[in-house]
Amino acid sequence: MSARSLRVAKVCKSYGRHRALVDVNVVFTPGRVAAIVGPNGAGKTTLLSILSTLVRATSGEILLGDESFAHNPSARQTIGYVGHEPGVYPDLSARQNLRIFATLYSIADAEARITAMLERVDLADVREEVPARSYSRGMLQRLALARALLHGPEILLFDEPSSALDPVGVRWLGEELRRERDNGRLVILVTHDLDAAAQVANHLVVIRRGRVAIDQVEDAGFATERVRALYEEALRDR
């Protein structure tokens, strides 16, 4: 998959007088799941919005390999995004939703790709005429993942994807994240759930008051206790 790292260098974001991010420096590497954790209002979602090109950093630089990434429209082709909302049209079926995004991403052989994605997320057997409005929360999140993976992005961004999922859904999502990590994709997960972070992450970033307090990589992954200890250490310091 991707061999390019995503380098965040001295990124700051201010909203008026409020400094949401201050001098953030992190390098995200392919083949890893980076979990960004932190208390409410720490700046996790702001960082993810900047990484997804939706929000412009006030200063600093983001590079994918050697290419400038921040707020670059062509960079959007390299991103797949799954949020806590599924980001699909409720009046359309799963296949119709994916068809729309396949045309927007100019995917060649779209129907075959859509079928493959629906099979992967176990939605291939859902009847064509059933709109997404009548899907369960878990089905919607599976459709969201299919949408995010449809164009084969280098980078997968997840913003609290397991909120409102039942335990089966959370376990399924963890498996999918590990699968993408093992496929060599660059995966970034924003969450406040330390257990979920420990299950999948081998790169932990703790953000506190807009600053990176902990940035640690463990190739073998983190134990839940270790994640908790690092998190508490980050909140205790400074």
């Binding site: 429209p73 909302e85 980001g87 049209y89 009046d91 359309l92 119709q96 927007l104």
Partner: protein, 232 residues
């Protein structure tokens, strides 16, 4: 504007029309509201009016109804992007923001125009006005008036996407801004419907005014849509 801009514009417009084709929610709501507004106006005004005033009233009723039903379309077309946060998926796609704007304007205009056909027939019948005497002129005025209204409305509707009382705010913010469009469109239509004034010079003047207003509003919309929709 490149070929890819128009391709994305068409894709966005077709997407919105396809979703509407599946639910028909906007068309039914607009059609019902339009019929109701015209009927209420006809009950209130028909007996009181001087027959010579009929064409002027017809033009006023036509554009008042368009204003109300157009607001329904505007609110709902953007509201669909808010449900499930599909706007984020759209903004993360390679489609340029300007193409998303243009696609939304085209889809909203087409939905409005479909209802305006019904409106025009109703107004013609209930106000005994020869609405189809100058069919081409009428089509041009309806098209330009609708385009100007939608071009402005899509920007405001996008700005209010995350606002709780967006339906109430949309009308309050949008109506004062679209006064030039409504003024030109209703004056042009009134001159067109008036059988005592066969001279088309005022129609031509107001249509050119409408065209100029549209150019300004569409240019501004293409420019401001990106910051408005990203909230950055």
């Amino acid at each position: 504007m490149t070929g890819s801009f128009w391709r994305f514009t068409l894709l966005i417009a077709l997407k919105d029309l396809r979703i509407e084709g599946r639910s028909r929610e906007i068309l039914y709501t607009m059609g019902f509201s339009a019929a109701l507004v015209v009927l209420v106006f006809s009950f209130a005004l028909a007996s009181a009016s001087d027959p010579a005033q009929g064409p002027i009233l017809a033009a006023g009723v036509l554009w008042s109804s368009t204003l109300f039903t157009g607001t329904v379309a505007l609110a709902r077309v953007l509201d669909r992007e808010r449900e499930n946060e599909s706007i984020r998926s759209l903004l993360l796609s390679p489609a340029p923001r300007a193409a998303i704007y243009a696609g939304k304007v085209i889809a909203t205009s087409l939905l409005m125009l479909a209802v305006e056909i019904l409106l025009t027939v109703l107004v013609g019948v209930l106000f005994s006005t020869g609405v189809f005497t100058h069919l081409v002129w009428l089509a041009v005025i309806l098209l330009l008036g609708t385009l100007g209204f939608a071009a402005t409305g899509v920007v405001f509707s996008a700005a209010l996407l995350r606002s709780r009382s967006r339906e109430a705010l949309l009308g309050a913010l949008l109506f004062p801004i679209v006064i030039p469009v409504l003024l030109a469109a209703s004056r042009a239509t009134a001159c067109l419907f008036d059988p005592l004034s066969p001279d088309l010079d005022p129609v031509s003047f107001w249509t050119r005014f409408l065209l100029a207003t549209d150019v300004i509003y569409i240019s501004l919309g293409l420019w401001v849509f990106e910051p408005v929709v990203s909230g950055d």
